[in-house]
C-alpha cells in the first residue's frame, strides 16, 4: 500500500511538473521518471532509517519515500529560496542527508563511490546501514561505475547498485552502449552477486530489493541489480522522443508499474476502488496545494549569491 501510494504520488508530481514546464514556468526542463516508479518506491519501502542513498534524476519515489515532500520537490524544480538546495541547484539535484539521501551531481556514475564512503562511515559508527545507488543503463559506461563497484567490493561495503535499464540513454539505445547480454553479468567481474528483475512489477521488484538488502545488511558486501523498465517520456520535456519505436512503448504502456501494482493488489483483495480513489484525491489535493505554494514563493535573494561557498570553521 505504501509502495503504491509512493508510485502514484510521484507520478502525479511528475505530471504537475510537466504541466508547469509546458506553461513555461520552469527554468530548464522537467525530467520525469514516469514508468519507472516501482523501482525507487520499492527501495524506499524496503529501506531502514539509517540507510543511505544516491538517487539519480528519475528517483522521485525514493525522495518522497524518504521524507521529502511534494512541496520540497516543486520548490526545487522552481529554484525557490526554500528549496532543499536554496535555489542553488535545480531540477532534480537535491536530497537531504537527514533523510539519508545524497544530493547528486550530474556527472553520471560519480555518486556511487560517495554513498559507498558514507556507508563505510556509518558502519564504523556501529550502524547497520546499507547503501543504494541508482544509475541508468548509460551511466554503466562511465569509469566511475567501475571504480566504485570494485572499491565497494574490496572493502565489503554493503551497497546495492541498481541499474535502471530503461533501454535508452538520452537517444542512445543500449545496443550502442554495451555489448554484454545482461548488465547484471558485470557482477562476476567484481566478485559480487548480480541480479535481474522486472522493474515494472512492483511486487517482484520489492521482494527482490528487500531480500538483497536483508542479505547485504547481514553479510556486508555490494550487490548489483539490473531492473528492466522503460522511460515513458523524453529524456527531458524538451526531447521529442522520436527515437523510441512506438511498438516498444506499447509493450511498456501495458506494463505500467502503477497499473500492475493496482491489479496485483486488487487480485489479492488488498485494495478497493474506493480506497484508490480516496488516495488519488488526497494526493491530488496535497500536490495542488504544494504546487501553488511553491509557484507563489520567492527565488533566493541575489545578495546571498556568494554566501556559503565555504563552511565556517
Amino acid at each position: 500500500m505504501k509502495l503504491l501510494r509512493l508510485m502514484i504520488q510521484a507520478r502525479r508530481v511528475d505530471e504537475r511538473l510537466i504541466k508547469i514546464c509546458r506553461q513555461g514556468r520552469l527554468r530548464g526542463s522537467a525530467f520525469a521518471g514516469i514508468g519507472q516508479e516501482a523501482i525507487s518506491a520499492a527501495v524506499a519501502v524496503a529501506s531502514q532509517p539509517d540507510d543511505l542513498f544516491a538517487p539519480c534524476i528519475r528517483n522521485l519515489p525514493l525522495h518522497l519515500g524518504r521524507g521529502e515532500t511534494p512541496l520540497g520537490v516543486f520548490r526545487q524544480a522552481l529554484g525557490r529560496a526554500k528549496s532543499p538546495t536554496g535555489g542553488r541547484d535545480g531540477n532534480v539535484h537535491y536530497g537531504r542527508l537527514d533523510h539519508g539521501v545524497y544530493t547528486m551531481i550530474s556527472h553520471l556514475g560519480s555518486m556511487i563511490s560517495v554513498v559507498a564512503g558514507g556507508v563505510m562511515a556509518k558502519r564504523r559508527q556501529g550502524k547497520d546501514t546499507v547503501g543504494v545507488a541508482f544509475v541508468g543503463d548509460g551511466a554503466t559506461s562511465t569509469g566511475d561505475f567501475h571504480e566504485a563497484l570494485n572499491f565497494a567490493a574490496v572493502f565489503d561495503i554493503p551497497l546495492l547498485v541498481i541499474i535502471e535499464n530503461n533501454h535508452y540513454a538520452y537517444s542512445t539505445p543500449t545496443s550502442h552502449q554495451y555489448r554484454c547480454h545482461r548488465l547484471a553479468d558485470r557482477a562476476v567481474g567484481y566478485g559480487i552477486d548480480g541480479y535481474s528483475a522486472d522493474g515494472n512489477n512492483p511486487a517482484e521488484i520489492y521482494i527482490t530489493v528487500r531480500d538483497i538488502l536483508n542479505d547485504i545488511r547481514a553479510n556486508p558486501r555490494p550487490a548489483l541489480l539490473e531492473a528492466d523498465t522503460m522511460r515513458m517520456r523524453g529524456h527531458g520535456e524538451h526531447d521529442d522522443f522520436k527515437y523510441v519505436p512506438e511498438t516498444l512503448l506499447q509493450v511498456y504502456r501495458r506494463r505500467d508499474p502503477i497499473r500492475m501494482g493496482i491489479r496485483g493488489m486488487q487480485a489479492a483483495k488488498l485494495i478497493t476502488d474506493d480506497q484508490i480513489e480516496a488516495m488519488e484525491l488526497e494526493i491530488a489535493d496535497e500536490i495542488d496545494r504544494s504546487a501553488r505554494q511553491a509557484l507563489s514563493e520567492e527565488e533566493p535573494l541575489a545578495d546571498t549569491l556568494t554566501q556559503g561557498v565555504y563552511r565556517d570553521a
Binding site: G28, G90, G143, S171, Y243, P300
Partner: protein, 325 residues
C-alpha cells in the same frame, strides 16, 4: 549573403570539414541521428553516414583517448562533449595524453574537442561551467572561443586543420540568439588573431565568448548615456592569444577592462591582465580591472544566476569606474 545563427555557423563548419576532409569523423553522445543535445550536428549523420558521424557510450575518457589514437593514425576526430562540465571526468586525456604527445614523440595529434560552455541558461552547477582556465593551462593544447556565427564557422575549419589538439569552446546562450549575415565562401581563420568589434579610445574591453555581446551592449549604452567611445576586443583565440592586438588596444586607450564569464581566482582574466601589465605597464592610466564571475558554483535560480554572470549593466558600471578613475 544569408543570415545564420551561431549554431548554424558551427554546423556549417562541421559540414565543410566532413565534406573536404575524408579522414574526419564526428562523434559523441547522441550526436548521430538525434543531432546532439543542442542539435548542432543535426542532419550530419543522414548526410554523411554512420561511419562518419556516430554515437558513443557515455565514456568521456575513452572518447578522448580514442581520438588520440585516431588522430595519430591519420584521422581527424571531432569529439563533442555533451556539456563542457563533463570533461572534468577525463582531464588526463587532454592535459596529459593529448597535450604532451607531440612534445614527447613528435607525432601530430590533430583533434578537436567541442565543449558547449557557459551559463545563463538555468543549467545549474553542472551544465553551465566555463572551463577555459583549465584548457589554457595545458601545454600543447590550443583553445578557441568564437562569439559570432562567421567566426564559429571559420574557427571550426581552422581548428580542424590544425595539427594539434584544439578545444573548441561554444557558448550555449549564443547558439540561437546571435545571428549574422555571411557569404558562402568558407575560409579558415588563423588561430591566435583577435578582432576589434567596436572602436573607441576612452577605454577597451577585452573579452571573449558570450561576454563580447554583453560588452557591445554596454559600450553602446555608455555611448548614448555619456558619449564615451569604448573599444571592444573579441579574443576569439584564448591560446595562443593575440598579444599584439591586446597591446595595441592598451596603447590606444590606456584603460583596460578584462571581462570573463569564468571564475575569478586563477581565471583567464588574470592571465590577460598580467600579460598587459608585464608588457604595457607604462601605458596604463589605471590598473587593469577584471570583471568575472565570483568563485561560486554556477547557481540555478534566475535571481542568483543573473547576479552571478557578468552582464552589460555590470560592464557599464565597471567601465564608468575605470574611465572616471
Amino acid at each position: 549573403m544569408r543570415e545564420i545563427t551561431y549554431l548554424q555557423g558551427i554546423q556549417e563548419g562541421l559540414r565543410e570539414v566532413l565534406k573536404t576532409d575524408p579522414t574526419s569523423v564526428i562523434y559523441g553522445q547522441d550526436v548521430g541521428a538525434f543531432g546532439g543535445a543542442f542539435k548542432v550536428t543535426e542532419g550530419l549523420q543522414a548526410e554523411f553516414g554512420e561511419a562518419r558521424v556516430f554515437d558513443t557510450p557515455i565514456s568521456e575518457s575513452a572518447m578522448l583517448g580514442a581520438a588520440i589514437g585516431m588522430a595519430t593514425q591519420g584521422m581527424r576526430p571531432i569529439v563533442e562533449m555533451q556539456f563542457a562540465d563533463f570533461i572534468t571526468t577525463a582531464m588526463h586525456q587532454l592535459l596529459n595524453n593529448a597535450g604532451t604527445r607531440h612534445y614527447r614523440t613528435g607525432d601530430a595529434v590533430p583533434m578537436v574537442v567541442r565543449v558547449p560552455s557557459g551559463g545563463g541558461t538555468g543549467g545549474g552547477p553542472f551544465h553551465s561551467e566555463e572551463l577555459e582556465t583549465y584548457f589554457c593551462h595545458m601545454p600543447g593544447v590550443k583553445v578557441v572561443y568564437p562569439a559570432f556565427p562567421s567566426d564559429a564557422r571559420s574557427l571550426l575549419l581552422s581548428a580542424a586543420q590544425d595539427p594539434n589538439p584544439v578545444v573548441f569552446m561554444e557558448n550555449k546562450t549564443l547558439y540561437r540568439s546571435v545571428k549574422e549575415r555571411v557569404g558562402d565562401d568558407l575560409t579558415a581563420l588563423p588561430l591566435g588573431k583577435a578582432s576589434v568589434r567596436h572602436e573607441g579610445d576612452d577605454a577597451v574591453v577585452i573579452t571573449y565568448g558570450a561576454m563580447v555581446h554583453e560588452a557591445l551592449r554596454a559600450v553602446s549604452e555608455l555611448h548614448v548615456t555619456e558619449g564615451y567611445e569604448v573599444m571592444v576586443v573579441d579574443l576569439r583565440s584564448l591560446k595562443p592569444y593575440d598579444l599584439d592586438t591586446i597591446l595595441a588596444a592598451t596603447a590606444a586607450t590606456s584603460r583596460v577592462l578584462v571581462v570573463s564569464e569564468g571564475w575569478r581566482t586563477c581565471g583567464y582574466a588574470a592571465e590577460i591582465a598580467t600579460a598587459i601589465n608585464e608588457s604595457a605597464f607604462h601605458l596604463l592610466d589605471a590598473p587593469v580591472h577584471r570583471l568575472t564571475a565570483p568563485d561560486v558554483p554556477v547557481p540555478f535560480a534566475k535571481s542568483l544566476e543573473d547576479r552571478y554572470r557578468p552582464a552589460a549593466a555590470d560592464i557599464v558600471k565597471a567601465l564608468r569606474d575605470l574611465i572616471e578613475l
